[in-house]
Symmetry: C2
Subunit: 197 residues, 2 copies
DNA sequence: ATTGATAAAACGAACGTTCGTTTTATATAT
DNA sequence: ATATATAAAACGAACGTTCGTTTTATCAAT
């Protein structure tokens, strides 16, 4: 009898490879990290890794999808929070607070890559649009209930919030003071100033 | 008797090579752009290029210094403008308005590279610190004269402005609406909301 | 015995860089 | 003026390495 294929094992292996690759990418960048290094980090041989992914590009593309999961979590939180202003302000704070230096670096790599790799761009813009839509929706809700200013339309406000959030994530790198709580507080404060009536 | 060395030519050639390299880097990224492609783009042979730069790393590092020049221009404008609030708001607007899609892409590459290349990091942080200091100084001036809110200290406000500016530069990529005037207007509006009393 | 998973070795292609050579331009000597 | 000497500038083939990937051999489990 043949050895039976174990789906659980396959999922776990794929995830382990992606995690190992992420560590390599943070350290060396997408195109300086070698497949050899990724295989070594995953504790597997080249042949094994190529059984789980068709090539390096597929591994790189796998990095984008993690972002989607975070957005889904954020969406769940923001839709549960009744006060729309609080939802956006605390959502932004949490997103910055939960971003490690490694996450920020990987995110920077993704942005750079999305600018010139069509497959990555498509996935990245998709996630971005989802995020902006979520913000617009929540902000419009707040404008209706009066907790958020009506002096600017929701799409414009959403883009401001998005810029602030991404801008502060970008600042995790240069700021030597690594306590991201400070940055998260500033994020929340800035978003609140933008949105409050 | 020998031909004398032409300093003018040397400066110009170096600049031409950096410009050619920038086009390649925008198209392919720092580590996917080959020296061959850069040489071809510059219209020179490999040997010629290596007469002007010791290697690829030196060319990559040359990219950072352009940022410094922009900051110096901004500093000149902000120090001339008497109204500190106007200086910061319009400075931020101009910086976003004058950033092309190619500039934004190159900037994204720089950020990613600075995160893992020590030489680049040092140059990048230096420019970043200069920019934050300029903002702090101008904001403090505005707080003294009363055109800028005193509810938050200058360092915090400076970091908010910085995040907004960089956040909107980052949005040049994902936003399909390429007219950056819209983004520049949003930038100015957001900065004004953060700073006004 | 047969099948799938893994390891290890090997592949051609492309990389950054080097270096011996050729071309180009100019200052002097005739 | 012309010819010559000389250094700057550019060329481009070739180097050794390393890349992503493929092939081959071995192991473990049915």
């Amino acid at each position: 009898m043949p050895r039976t294929k174990d789906d659980k094992l396959e999922k776990r292996r794929r995830f382990e490879i992606l995690e190992a690759a992420a560590r390599c990418f943070v350290r060396d960048g997408f195109h300086q990290a070698s497949m050899r290094a990724i295989c070594a980090e995953a504790g597997l041989s080249a042949g094994a890794v190529y059984n789980y992914f068709p090539g390096k590009d597929a591994i790189i593309e796998g990095m984008v999808d993690w972002e989607r999961e975070e957005i889904d979590e954020l969406a769940a939180y923001m839709r549960d929070e009744k006060n729309a202003l609080t939802a956006v302000v605390e959502g932004a704070r949490a997103m910055v607070a939960e971003t490690s230096a490694e996450d920020a670096q990987l995110y920077a790599e993704l942005i750079a890559e999305a600018g010139r790799n069509d497959a990555m761009r498509a996935r990245f813009v998709e996630a971005d649009t989802l995020m902006v839509s979520l913000l617009e929706e929540t902000i419009a809700r707040g404008q209706k209930s009066g907790t958020i200013t009506r002096r600017q339309k929701a799409p414009g406000l959403a883009r401001m919030v998005m810029a602030i959030y991404e801008g502060f994530v970008g600042r995790i790198g240069p700021e030597k003071d690594n306590r991201s709580k400070k940055l998260a507080d500033l994020t929340a404060e800035a978003v609140r100033r933008i949105l409050q009536p």
